[in-house]
């Protein structure tokens, strides 16, 4: 057990994967000599050499496609895409090829590919580098979507993702890289279930990824105001762990979904729909959500803050449905 950063946890996970399985290699823009845009892969080139730590040209379509091919050919590639915004260039490879290959080949081919990408706002890198499109990927059958929000999940999710015979997309929120936390040396985590990060009885705050620390902060503030909030970290955005959500709502009877995506057509909308489908008769108040404002994420700090879910907004939403507004 040691206290490490999310960035370090991710690096340890990469190092473990590269050491355990010689089919594993890492590929992406600036991941080698530069050490990664967010310095996750710093030092790995020296340790594992250019065959396995491969700097890619600036073509997402090209190198993600190469990853799909390598996976079909028997390798276990880890492809890093700098941000989710840039992954749109590779959507054809991910959605039309990777996600569909098992189906289109009648089960003859699988694509054991892991794609890592940074997501989210809060670092003043402006609209083209700040969006949260996890919900788009969670829409696609054929891929598994993970959102590690704790140091332990950052450390532990990569290996089971590589063991999955189908494509897995891992979203790393840019606000989390400096997060520090306790971590076992080789934590065993699953890539199937949501986690209760804080138990409570009055309202369920359901979130994932970069919004988890804000939600935990909100839960602490609510506790001081006499509202006992339960925090659910979805962890796995596809397939969603509906049972954990339903169990929590059954207990608390109220839910706020916190999602950095825009509200229209968001993952939050999907979570709310499932609560309606499964938990309607358990509800004591309308399900509500805190999402990003429906605008490109602004560059200016105060405007960026205003556009994103924040603890104060979560507290206000929870108070409202608890009848304490």
């Amino acid at each position: 057990m040691s206290v490490i950063s999310y960035r370090e946890a991710m690096r340890q996970a990469l190092r473990e994967a590269l050491s355990r399985d010689e089919r594993v290699f890492l590929m992406g823009e600036d991941i080698g000599k530069y050490g990664g845009t967010y310095a996750v892969s710093k030092g790995l080139l020296e340790e594992f050499g250019p065959e396995r730590i491969r700097d890619a040209p600036l073509s997402e379509l090209g190198f993600v496609g190469a990853g799909v091919g390598a996976a079909m050919g028997g390798m276990r590639p880890i492809v890093e895409v700098m941000t989710v915004n840039f992954s749109l260039l590779a959507l054809d490879q991910i959605v039309n090829s990777a996600a569909l290959m098992r189906h289109m080949s009648g089960g003859q081919f699988s694509v054991p590919l892991v794609i890592r990408m940074a997501t989210g706002a809060g670092r003043q890198v402006a609209a083209q580098h700040s969006h949260s499109l996890e919900g788009w990927y969670a829409h696609i059958p054929g891929i598994r979507v993970l959102a590690p929000a704790t140091v332990e999940d950052a450390r532990g999710m990569l290996w089971p993702a590589l063991e999955d015979p189908d494509p897995v997309v891992i979203f790393e929120h840019v606000q989390l890289y400096n997060l520090e936390g306790e971590c076992a040396d080789a934590p065993r985590v699953d890539i199937a279930s949501a986690a209760v990060r804080r138990a409570g009885g009055n309202v369920s705050l359901i979130t994932y990824g970069g919004s988890l620390p804000k939600t935990m902060d909100a839960a602490g503030q609510l506790a001081a105001q006499g509202i006992d909030a339960e925090v659910i970290d979805l962890r796995v955005l596809r397939p969603l762990d509906t049972e954990t959500i339903a169990a929590s709502v059954r207990k608390t009877r109220r839910a706020v979904v916190v999602d950095e995506g825009w509200r229209t057509g968001s993952l939050a909308a999907e979570v709310m729909a499932r609560i309606m489908e499964n938990s309607f008769y358990d509800l004591d108040a309308p399900v509500t959500r805190v999402c990003s404002e429906e605008a490109p994420i602004p560059y200016a700090k105060h405007m960026e803050d205003a556009a994103l879910p924040q603890a104060a907004k979560i507290v206000a939403a929870a108070r409202e449905i608890c009848g304490k507004s």
Binding site: D284, G323, S325
Partner: protein, 394 residues
């Protein structure tokens, strides 16, 4: 057009079963007339009307359980024509629209006003739980967002009020109903009212001798009991200390205009009822005694009047017959004081420097500290003691 609505016949009542009409369309009624008989959890009550007019339309059907505030009948105001009433009726929402008097609900929240045509907000889980508990979710005060009724509201209502049963009222265990009603009122009292308690030994030598002399010259049916002296002394003391007499509502004390003393009467089948004798401070002992006898008889027969049920401004309880020395009562909300009398017994008392055996009683006071302080309470009890030393003035 005048609407006659089911009144609340006590703080713990939120619905009643309508039994029969005492009026028919065309009857002239005036203030104080008994117009209907309604069964509460405690007794069948003769309900009085407080308006003058001509009975126009009887709406309530006998045997139906209805919520407080339900329109039971309409009357024509003096001078009003049926045509005018019909015209007015058309402009009003359905005459059966109901509302709950806030004081009938023993929680702080006030029921959101029911807008005709708009569905009451009841959360799904609250609706489900209400069905399980047999509670009418529409009548529960809501504390959720936009006044919605939540699970907690339903469960509180079920616990605090007599849970409206899924079975017809006729099949209900009357005693269990009454127990629930008492439980609700007493729980509310202990939850909301910061009680303080005082007691005082009151010598009754003078009173006993005076009563003996009085009763010796009265006929058997006109004899007066000590209980009447107690009631009168309490009522007169209330005139001097008005902060013991009245109701505490909506965060403030409303002194009673007159002293209507609620008399705690235990019922033979179990349970308790505390109907009022009106204007006790103005009544002679003879009148009081008659009223008391009549009240006890009617309470036990189950034929009380609505004004007796809802009007008490202070309660007196007398457990002396049961042989206890003193009683520390629970205030009946929204009243603010309760005076208790224990057993009248021969006691060794020091009188004028000598030890004497004389009759005495322990009088106690439970009072609402939001309204009065111990100092006032002590003066009040001392005044009762003083009055009882001069029975001829009562």
């Amino acid at each position: 057009m005048i609407e006659f609505k089911l009144p609340s016949l006590g703080a713990d009542m939120d619905k009643g079963k309508f039994l029969e009409w005492r009026i028919k369309p065309g009857d002239q009624v005036k203030r104080g007339d008994v117009v209907a008989v309604v069964d509460t959890s405690k007794a069948a009550v003769d309900v009085e009307i407080w308006n003058e007019g001509t009975v126009y339309e009887l709406i309530a059907e006998p045997g139906v359980t209805m919520r407080v505030g339900t329109v039971m009948a309409t009357l024509l105001a003096p001078g009003e024509t049926p045509e005018a009433a019909e015209a007015e009726k058309r402009t009003r929402p359905a005459a059966v629209a109901v509302s709950v008097q806030a004081e009938a609900v023993p929680v702080t929240a006030v029921a959101a006003p029911v807008v005709p045509g708009e569905r009451r907000r009841v959360s799904p889980v609250a609706r489900r739980r209400a069905a399980e508990l047999g509670v009418d979710a529409e009548s529960v005060a809501g504390t959720g967002p936009h006044g919605a009724v939540t699970l907690e509201d339903v469960e509180r209502a079920a616990a605090a009020t007599k849970a409206a049963p899924a079975v017809p009222a006729a099949q209900l265990d009357k005693q269990a109903e009454m127990r629930r009603a008492i439980a609700a009122a007493m729980s509310r009292s202990k939850r909301e009212i910061p009680h303080y308690y005082l007691s005082e030994r009151v010598p009754l030598q003078n009173a006993t001798l005076w009563l003996q002399a009085e009763n010796a010259r009265r006929g058997l049916t006109e004899r007066v009991l000590m209980a009447a002296l107690f009631l009168k002394s309490v009522a007169l003391a209330c005139e001097t200390y008005p902060d013991m007499n009245g109701l505490y509502r909506d965060g403030k004390f409303e002194p009673g205009a007159s002293v209507h003393v609620g008399v705690a009467i235990s019922l033979r089948q179990g349970g308790l009822i505390a109907p009022a004798i009106h204007d006790v401070q103005k009544k002679s002992l003879t009148q009081l005694m008659q009223d008391l006898t009549d009240l006890v008889k009617r309470a036990r027969a189950g034929s009380l009047r609505s004004s007796e049920m809802s009007d008490p401004t202070i309660t007196v309880t007398n457990l002396g017959d049961q042989g206890v020395e003193s009683v520390f009562g629970v205030i009946y909300p929204p009243q603010v004081a309760l005076v208790g009398f224990g057993r009248v017994a021969e006691l060794a008392c020091v009188v004028e420097g000598g030890l004497r055996i004389i009759p005495a009683v322990t009088a106690s006071l439970a009072a609402d500290h939001r309204v009065s302080d111990g100092h006032r309470g002590a003066l009040f009890l001392a005044e009762i003691r003083r009055l009882l030393q001069q029975p001829e003035t009562l």
